[in-house]
Symmetry: C2
Amino acid sequence: MSPAARTYHHGDLRRALIEEGLQLARRGGPSAVTLREATRAVGVSPNAAYRHFTDLDDLVRAVATEAQLALARAINERVAAMPTGLPADEASIERLRRVGLAYIDFARAEPGWFEVAFSTQDHQPSEGIVTLGDEVVAPFQLLLDTLDEMVEAGALDAGRRPFAEWACWSAVHGFADIAVHGPVRWQPAPVIDALAASVVEAAITGVRGEPATAAPAAAAAAGSGAHNSG
Amino acid sequence: MSPAARTYHHGDLRRALIEEGLQLARRGGPSAVTLREATRAVGVSPNAAYRHFTDLDDLVRAVATEAQLALARAINERVAAMPTGLPADEASIERLRRVGLAYIDFARAEPGWFEVAFSTQDHQPSEGIVTLGDEVVAPFQLLLDTLDEMVEAGALDAGRRPFAEWACWSAVHGFADIAVHGPVRWQPAPVIDALAASVVEAAITGVRGEPATAAPAAAAAAGSGAHNSG
DNA sequence: TGTACATCAGTGAACGCGCGTTCACTGATGTAC
DNA sequence: TGTACATCAGTGAACGCGCGTTCACTGATGTAC
C-alpha cells in the first residue's frame, strides 16, 4: 500500500472501485459494471461509491479509460518487439501490421475490456478525432502516428493518406467484432489467426493501393488455407 | 387482416409480438426487446407470450431473423438499381461496392435492427458459415455470391478468393460499427458518406490487390476532402 | 500537549423500477356424436 | 341442427431478482487554538 494511496478510511476507495470495475468489465463488458457489484466486491456499502463518482456512468468512463490504456500498451509492446534493420519503408509497413494484429489479438484475449474501451467515448461532434475526457484516445493516436510515419518513409503515397485511418480501423475493428461477438467466435484459434492475418494484409493493401512487398509467413499461410465459400 | 392470420382469440399473437419486437429493437437494439414491453404494446398479459415462444431468447431470435431479411432486402435493392451495360468484370466490382455501401447505409438508417441482426446467430462451431436456425444468414450469402461472381468475371484472381469474404465483411462491418456506436456517429451525414465510400474502395482494393479501374464519383470526392490526422 | 470542533468518508435502511417466469384459472373456439 | 366435451389461447396475481439512487445518520480523521 503506497503512502499516496492511504487516506481516511478505506485507503483509496476510488482506485479500488475502478480496479473492481475492470474485473467486472473483463468478464461481462460495460453492462456488467454496476455500482452494487463493485461496492459489494470491495466490501463497502452501495452508496459509498457516490463519494467518488457522480453516478454509474462516471465509474464506467473511468474503467473505459483504463481499458483504452491497456489496449494502447498491448499495441506498443507488439510494435516494440519488431525486428530491427528493416529498410524504413518496410519497417513502417510492419509497424502498421503489428498495430492491426495487436488490436485484434487484444480484442480476442480481453473481449470485455475491448468492448468497454470501444463503447465509451465523448459524445461530442468534434473533428472526428476519438476522444474521452477531451484527450485523444491512445490507441487511435498510435494508428495516426503509424500512418504518418508510412508517408514519411515513402511506404504510403501522400495522396492516399487522407481517411486511411478509417479504412484501417474499420478493417481490424470489424474483424475483432466478428471474432469476439460474431460467428468467427466458434472457430479454433489457429483458424482465427489465419483469418486475422489475411484481413490485416488486405487492409494494408487497401490503403497502399498495392500489396506489401514482403508479407510475413502468417499472411502467406492464410492465403493457401481452406475457405468457406461454395 | 388476411384469412390465414385469423385464429382463435387475438388473430395471430405470434406475428404481432414479432412485429412489436421489431419496433422495440428498432429503437433500442436487442436489449430493448422484452416480453413485458412487447405484450404490453400488443395489449395482452405478459405471460401470454409463453403460448408462442419458449422464452425471451426465442422471441429475440425471431426478431433477429426478420432484421437479417430486411438487411438482405436493402442490399438486393441497391444491387438491382445498378446501371446496365457495364462489362462483366466492372459490373461485378460495382456489385461488390453496392453490397458494401448498402450494408453500411442500412446500419446507419436502422442501427437497432443492424445490432440485433449481427448479435444473434447460432452458437455452433460449424464451417464458419454464418447461420441462424441452421440457415445461412441471407446478407452473408449475398456477399459470398458476389465474390464468386467476381472470380467468374475475371475481376478477382482465384488465388485471392479464399478469405476474401472476411476482409470485405470486416471492413464494412467495422465502419458500420464505428459509424453507429463509435465516434463517427457525431459527424454530419455527408462526411460519413465520404468516409464510407473511402472505406469501401479500400476494401475492394484490398481483396483485388489493386485499385478498381473505374471508381465512382463519390469515392473520388472522398479522396480529396479534409482529413483528421495531424 | 490537550481539547473543541469541523470535515467528510462511510453506514443502514429504504424507495421505486422493470424484468422473466410460474401458478392456478377462465372462457372462447372447434369437434364428435 | 343441437348438445356435450376437449382443447388451448389468454388472464390475474404473484414470486424473487438486481439495479440506481436518496435519506438521515455515525464515527473516524484532521485542525485550530
